[in-house]
């Protein structure tokens, strides 16, 4: 096994790390989260200028030809800074669906805008009844002339409020939970018949409930082959699992390190509480949970980089299981060891914990991925 990075990968990691450390303060982040957009458009432009928004895309598509390794390197640093800019929604999910299944024309239409920061996307794949089953789809796309008509409802569409385009999963044939018969469509978010209800999420992101009512799209809107969209969707989601998992690893690192520092400073009974054995052991366990997750992060990324298939999917699910368990333990422990301070809005600890809690739910929780791991 080889856990070393290439020179380019190291430079990328350092670049993101430097930005998050020096230019992405917690207070500014909180202020940006309250803004109309829900994030900093200036930061987003900076990401574009630094080339980060093009990292996962091929050079032919105007990107940097990065893959799973680059994704985790960046996302881990994003997690350390508790990033709220919609990198996941636009680049990894919507961009990922285009990367894996888009036609040349579709890529030409959308990817340059993603890469230069002028266009936002969202992947609309969740339905209220589906829990984490990607194939449980009631939204329909019925062939109509040389196009399709979509009707249905998508829930918790990340970055829905800012999205200029949507990638939508819909059923073109089959029953509600059939794996065949699912198609993906890419369309302008302002297409007639699309209505949105926007809201903030617990972890300070933005999302939408989106209704599709007789939404007419052309045949060129179909992403990949009709009825075979699940494989593309699954791959984009697994990219997302890898990204949020790496983000969780970054969050956990901050939590355990900040907790250690706090316990070295905070005094009770005339001495630093970090001297108490029971607290020391808790912090060691936090450290250990972080390192376990990090190890599986590398293994999952390596599997994904070596080729997408059952082995990669299994490794991704294993990673997500570990991240879910570790994140909960590290987050809860950090809040507890900070005492009352850990419960306040002003301290970053609780915000990291909220993000970790949401990450556990995103794209399938521990139970879901444990089941998936066992069946793959």
């Amino acid at each position: 096994m080889d856990f070393s990075f290439t020179e380019e990968q190291t430079l990328l990691q350092e670049s993101v790390s430097r930005f998050m450390q020096n230019d992405y303060g917690f207070d500014a982040r909180q202020k940006n989260a309250q803004s109309e957009e829900g994030f900093s458009t200036a930061n987003w432009q900076t990401f574009a200028e630094l080339g980060w928004l093009g990292v996962p895309f091929s050079e032919a598509d105007g990107g940097f030809g990065g893959g799973a390794i680059e994704t985790i390197l960046m996302s881990e640093q994003f997690g350390r800074g508790l990033l709220i800019e919609p990198f996941l929604a636009t680049v990894v999910l919507a961009g990922g669906a285009l990367k894996h299944g888009g036609s040349e024309a579709q890529k030409t239409q959308y990817l340059p805008g993603i890469i230069d920061g002028s266009v936002h996307g969202a992947l609309a794949f969740v339905e209220p009844q589906a829990r984490f089953n990607l194939a449980d789809i009631t939204t329909t796309a019925v062939a109509d002339g040389d196009g399709y008509v979509l009707n249905g409802y998508k829930a918790v569409v990340l970055n829905g409020p800012q999205a200029n385009f949507l990638v939508v999963s819909a059923r073109t044939s089959g029953d509600q939970r059939d794996e065949d018969g699912i198609s993906l469509f890419v369309m302008d978010a302002a297409t007639a018949g699309i209505s949105r209800r926007d809201y903030p999420t617990v972890d300070a992101f933005r999302a939408s409930e989106i209704t599709f009512e007789n939404v007419k799209v052309g045949a060129d809107s179909l992403l990949g082959e009709a009825g075979k969209g699940l494989a593309i969707l699954q791959q984009a989601i697994d990219d997302g699992v890898l990204a949020v998992g790496a983000e969780a690893v970054g969050c956990m690192e901050v939590l355990y390190k900040d907790t250690v520092e706090y316990c070295k400073q905070r005094e009770q009974f005339g001495q630093a509480i970090g001297k108490f054995q029971v607290l020391q052991h808790r912090m060691v366990d936090m450290f250990m949970e972080h390192e376990q997750s990090k190890s599986l992060m590398f293994m999952a990324a390596m599997r994904m980089a070596e080729g997408y298939g059952a082995e990669a999917q299994k490794a991704v699910s294993a990673f997500k299981v570990q991240v879910g368990k570790s994140g909960k333990f590290v987050g809860q422990s950090a809040v507890q060891l900070h005492g009352g301070m850990g419960m306040t809005e002003e301290l970053n600890i609780g915000h990291y914990f909220k993000r970790l809690t949401i990450i556990d739910t995103l794209f399938g929780n521990v139970d879901f991925h444990l089941q998936r791991y066992g069946t793959l």
Partner: protein
């Protein structure tokens, strides 16, 4: 980054597998191998045969410098070799002598002490650590064993308890204090003590984990050679033995053995008609944790920020989890004392399993075996908290 071994590493791994197959797996039935692995007395010839083949191959102390018999291996090669030995349950190549005594002698020993190395490297002489004492607190100042010097030898009086390998060791690394009343930090001495002499009386102390018992060793004016004091600060010895140093190889080779055991259990459970679904789920969860351990093992080979102690701590916990699942999986057949089932040589108690497959013994042994850290009264979490996280030392 790549998740597979390089071509050269894979070739080496294949060579190791072939060696173990030829010199261990194919030379005895699983039940005999299991008993030999457990140190059963009547399997000594089998164990010796294995050690002979290892010595002949030149692989007995690969982690030592080459001039003392070591191999010019990479950390990855060492990991492959040691992992494979544990996975296939060979008699241990990393003993207290080869893992700890040898490297300490090489680093701190004088000429006379270095002369002890060849017998260690050939597994001719076993060593044990004499630290724990009855009713003594587990710190450096609780040692009651006394040493005094004369011109011709060092004399030692005292009793060591819970001595791992103490019943059959030829030498002891013995922690003592000088007779005179110096300040505590200058009192401790580490003496290399031959155990086959009149001044030594040993009695067995059964260990939970079966296999060889520990020993209680009474030293009544036992004599060590005049060159027998190893000049190493006790605090440094404690650190070395607690596994906080990167040179301690024995603490990060469990992953492959664990995975083999866990996969075997899972496969078996899948064929059971009456198995609880929760148990299968727990097996999957364990497999994921073992995957993480494997990743940690690999990272610890090259990443100095990942303390090997953490890897050992995780491995201990996972052996424990595996043990719980094994017991649950055995159902009523968790009740028989496995050693007796193996010792009667009449086949397994549970006739649905082939001989040698019942590996709960291994699991229990690994989980319960008194580690050196346990003997020293050390908690690996304490070490990690202070060494890796920089937290202040606890009040004694």
């Amino acid at each position: 980054m790549q998740s597979q071994l390089s071509e050269a590493e894979q070739a080496f791994a294949d060579q190791v597998e072939q060696f173990i197959a030829q010199n261990w797996l194919n030379i005895a039935e699983p039940s005999r191998r299991m008993r030999a692995w457990l140190n059963a007395g009547d399997t000594e010839p089998l164990r010796k045969q294995w050690y002979r083949s290892v010595v002949e191959a030149g692989w007995s102390v690969p982690h030592w410098p080459q001039q003392y018999g070591g191999c010019d291996w990479s950390p990855q090669q060492l990991h492959i070799w040691l992992s494979a030995c544990l996975k296939h349950q060979t008699p241990a190549v990393l003993t207290f002598a080869t893992a700890h005594v040898g490297p300490l002698l090489i680093e701190y020993g004088d000429t006379a002490q270095l002369a002890l190395l060849p017998d260690i490297a050939t597994f001719e002489e076993n060593w044990c650590l004499g630290w724990a004492e009855q009713a003594s607190v587990p710190d450096d100042f609780g040692v009651m064993t006394r040493m005094s010097r004369t011109a011709r030898h060092i004399s030692i009086r005292g009793t060591k308890t819970r001595v791992i390998e103490g019943m059959r060791a030829q030498w002891m690394m013995c922690i003592t204090r000088a007779e005179d009343n110096q300040s505590p930090e200058h009192q401790s001495s580490i003496i290399l003590l031959p155990l086959q002499q009149h001044g030594i009386a040993r009695s067995p102390k059964a260990a939970l984990s079966s296999g060889q018992p520990m020993a209680e060793i009474v030293m009544t004016d036992a004599l060590a050679p005049p060159w027998g004091e190893l000049k190493i600060p006790l605090s440094e010895l404690r650190k070395r033995l607690s596994g906080m140093t990167a040179s301690d190889l024995s603490i990060s080779v469990d992953g492959a053995a664990l995975m083999q055991q866990a996969q075997g259990l899972t496969n078996r459970l899948h064929s059971e008609p009456n198995i609880e679904l929760g148990l299968l789920r727990d097996c999957d969860e364990l497999a994921i944790e073992i995957l993480a351990l494997l990743g940690m093992e690999q990272r610890s080979l090259t990443d100095s920020k990942l303390p090997p102690t953490m890897v050992r701590l995780r491995a201990q916990a996972l052996w424990g989890k595996l043990s719980e699942l094994q017991i649950a999986a055995f159902g009523y057949y968790a009740l028989p004392f496995v050693d007796s089932a193996l010792a009667d040589n009449e086949g397994p108690v549970d006739n649905t399993r082939p001989m040698g497959e019942m590996d709960m013994t291994m699991v229990m042994r690994r989980m319960l075996s008194p580690t050196i850290a346990t003997e020293l009264g050390l908690d690996l979490r304490d070490s990690l908290a202070q060494e890796a996280l920089g937290l202040p030392a606890q009040d004694q």
